[in-house]
């Protein structure tokens, strides 16, 4: 994500790159209220920061259509950017649709540290994103974020939020969430 920030900053040579970087830094401090271990930048929710006609436009994309965190995230972004003294507009873009493949490596590590198994790549054969949908296929092995064991079982396809499934580790016996591939 740092590389992406530099790339965007470098490309955008018509405006103040200092402000541009400050906006990205401020956004990196906004967390997902339901998964406070990771920032919205690490989750890939922030798609772009651009300058246009006397204002900065921050483009975000919702994770799930019904995610109750979406509106809170938008107001948290406004609050974080208000301190910069710049005119900032938050725009929501639906397409292209958010995917867990956009979660940055640092974000995946932080999920693991928070006890949440990070998502498999969506290209995985067992992913529901694969077409056609097939039932009864073996699902990819999930590593326990607590002890690293692969002896884990799914308890339910939906967990504490729509984006997670519930698992239990057969070795350390701890229940945990899997961030579903999306």
């Amino acid at each position: 994500m740092v590389a992406a920030m530099k790339m965007r900053a470098g490309r955008d040579d018509t405006c103040d790159t200092g402000v541009h970087a400050a906006i990205w830094r401020a956004l990196a401090g906004v967390v997902d209220p339901e998964i406070p271990a990771v920032s919205i930048v690490e989750l890939g929710i922030v798609r772009d920061v651009a300058h246009a006609a006397n204002e900065w436009i921050v483009t975000v994309t919702p994770t799930y259509s019904g995610c109750p965190a979406t509106r809170i995230i938008e107001s948290d972004i406004r609050a974080a950017l208000a301190e910069l003294g710049e005119t900032v507009r938050v725009v929501t873009a639906l397409a292209p649709a958010w995917t867990t493949d956009w979660i940055a490596p640092e974000g995946r590590q932080k999920l693991r540290e928070a006890g949440i198994a990070p998502p498999h790549p969506t290209t995985h054969a067992g992913s529901p994103n694969a077409q056609p949908i097939t039932f009864g296929q073996p699902r990819p092995a999930v590593r326990c974020p607590n002890c690293g064991s692969l002896k884990t079982v799914e308890l339910a396809r939906f967990g504490s939020t729509a984006c997670k499934a519930q698992y239990r580790c057969g070795d350390c016996l701890e229940p945990f969430d899997l961030f579903k591939s999306h």
Binding site: G66, L94, A95, N129, F135, F158
Partner: protein, 266 residues
């Protein structure tokens, strides 16, 4: 195909968006009725999460419907106006999704038959010439793939389970099967939109749906009812606003607060 098409393409588009929206809105409300009463905690959470996805999708469709209607010169109706201040005859959802929850097999049968159709429909709509429809569909289809995985799983677990769960699953499929024909019945409204590359031709999705449903039901040891009668086809179903008695009762509960206190704010 029967019935007459709306006067303009945008009038048809508005009707179509209501159909998409109301399926999600009504089914989400039904699933919400299970909150705190699910058979096990995990299922309580799962059905609520599915409902939440559907409600989120319904909001996107409704917001767009309101904008399309307003572009035709009507006052702008937002998503809440459309959700809370229309009566049952103005709803355009399928008869299937308004059916009562019943026991858990009834809920799962309704969900599975809908999910299997929904995922195919959304897959087609990602190709819509209307970019907004294609964008919402591309987002929603990822969510619905998880819905159908779960509901298919439960059809098999209950159908191929105990003698009691099997009997209930079979009775549940028998009870709602007659509402599935409406999903593939294309009326004049849909026809003009299909011809314009905006809507999906659901009649063409029927064979794929049937074979997917059949393979899951086979594994669940459940048989498809022999009676070919289908309710709500020939332009006399939920998509045209002709509903079963269950919808109005459900809406009474869903709409009572905003109708009693129209300016209420959280």
């Amino acid at each position: 195909m029967t019935g007459s098409a709306p006067a303009t393409l945008d009038a048809a588009r508005f009707e179509y968006l209501l159909r998409l929206a109301d399926n999600g809105l009504v089914l989400a409300q039904r699933l919400g009725e299970w909150v705190g009463k699910g058979p096990v905690l995990e299922e309580d959470i799962a059905s609520t999460n599915v409902g939440l996805d559907l409600l989120g999708q319904a909001r996107l469709w409704l917001a767009y419907a309101g904008e399309v209607e307003a572009a035709g010169g009507s006052p702008l109706r937002g998503e809440d106006d459309l959700a809370y201040f229309r009566d049952s005859a103005d709803f355009r959802n399928l008869l299937l999704v308004e059916q009562p929850n019943g026991n858990y097999a009834d809920t799962i049968a309704r969900q599975f038959l809908f999910d299997q159709w929904h995922v195919l429909l959304l897959g087609q709509l990602t190709l819509s010439r209307d970019e907004r429809i294609a964008g919402i569909a591309a987002k929603a289809v990822k969510e619905v793939r998880y819905h159908v995985e779960r509901s298919a799983d439960w059809v098999v677990r209950l159908g191929d389970g105990t003698a009691t769960s099997h009997a209930r699953m079979q009775a549940a499929i028998d009870a709602v099967w007659m509402y599935t024909g409406e999903m593939f019945s294309v009326d004049a409204t849909e026809r003009v939109l299909i011809d314009a590359g905006i809507a999906a031709d659901t009649s063409a999705l029927q064979p794929t749906w049937q074979s997917s449903v059949q393979s899951v039901l086979d594994e669940a040891t459940i048989v498809i009812p022999a009676d070919p009668f289908m309710q709500g086809t020939r332009s006399r179903g939920g998509k045209q606003g002709v509903h079963t008695e269950h919808l109005a009762r459900m809406l009474a509960e869903m709409q009572v607060l905003p109708r009693s206190y129209p300016d209420a704010r959280w």
